[in-house]
Amino acid sequence: MEKLAKIQLTVLASYSMPFVLLSALLINTLLVNNHVTGGSLKILLLGGAFPLGFLAGRLIYVKRSHVEILFDDISFSVIKGSKETETGSWRSFRLVSLVLDQFGKPNLRLYRAVEGEYVDLPISKTNADPQRFRDHVQSLISGVRIRKTTPQVVEAA
């Protein structure tokens, strides 16, 4: 199975920053208690707040928000954090489209029937090229994508 994933840096940073701040406060308290009040040693030790904070942030990010899409020529599954949120077979879908979300990022929409029930794959949260991935999925899904329109009634003169 192929895997699509990407570390979402903005989400990771938003999880990590409170921990960076918290660990900096803790380190500072320890330094004050040990009478380290100035100099380059204090800056160096306070700098340790970043790896500590990002480590804690990354743990939460991986547990909650990291998105992975696993797929092969038959099926796919979407894993968000530690949960499998979506799974399915390509052949159960008829139509595929790219949908822009509220931030203008493209995600993949798979329709079970034309203008019917659909499933969204969050490809903007992975390293997939939206157009190429859509083309690949379009080649995998089975589908009669023909839409019929009713001919217009023309009045006789």
């Binding site: 790219l98 509220q102 203008g104 939206p130 157009q131 379009q138 994508r145 023909i146 329109t149 001919p151």
Partner: protein, 218 residues
């Protein structure tokens, strides 16, 4: 005296150190050259990959190219309606999304009409007035069925546009359908004589899509 001292053979330990230093520098240099050549290779590969005019046009729309007129939010490829296959079929509405002020402005001022964009790639086949009229009819049927306020129809052809097509498109003035015909070989673009049609050139930047490798990088 100084010159003579300078020419004296150096200490063997220092010369050994210098030799090692130069060798290490050379290996680092080699690594940098390797990395740069790989990067250059990758860049040249990505540049050599041809992006088709349809892909380039869609990419522009995906990046919000139509934002000033319509907010196209859903894009289909090779969408079949009756016996016509649209290379791109995009759906959206006229009310833009935004952050705070633009969203408030759109919500209070702009009407929320459903609109669509249709793009047909004729390829090497000759674009005749008859086939174009047929395409227009199909789009009009979809427009009526979906109760769209207006729609864009862009027809791309690999061949030069015939004078009949130029005449038909430039004289087309039905306000619900903006029409454009473009030749990917001669880069000629003809727009219909209505507001929606003129916006294809101004807002959708069709000309840029016809010169893909110049402006659009994947």
């Amino acid at each position: 005296m100084r010159l003579v001292r300078g020419l004296c053979p150096p200490d063997p330990r220092i010369s050994n150190l210098l030799t090692r230093y130069v060798l290490e520098l050379a290996s680092v240099d080699k690594a940098i050259v390797l990395i740069l050549s790989r990067a250059f290779e990758m860049q040249s590969r990505s540049l050599s990959e041809q992006i088709s005019p349809v892909d380039a046009f869609e990419l522009n729309l995906l990046r919000g190219g139509s934002r000033l007129i319509a907010d196209l939010t859903e894009f289909f490829r090779d969408y079949k309606v009756d016996d016509t296959t649209f290379a791109i079929y995009a759906k959206g509405n006229t009310r833009n999304k935004g952050l705070f002020l633009s969203r408030f402005f759109a919500w209070t001022v702009l009407p929320n009409y459903p609109v669509s964009l249709f793009c047909i790639n004729e390829g090497k086949t000759l674009l005749s007035t008859e086939s174009l009229r047929k395409r227009i009819e199909t789009v009009t049927r979809v427009t009526d069925a979906d109760e769209l306020q207006w729609a864009w129809l862009v027809v791309l052809s690999d061949r030069a546009l015939s004078p009949q097509i130029v005449s038909l498109v430039s004289r087309y003035d039905r306000k619900e359908l903006g029409l454009a015909a473009a030749s990917t070989s001669s880069k000629q673009i003809v727009l219909s004589n209505n507001q929606v049609g003129r916006s294809i050139g101004k807002q959708l930047k069709l000309r840029k899509a016809l010169e893909p490798n110049k402006h659009w990088r994947n």
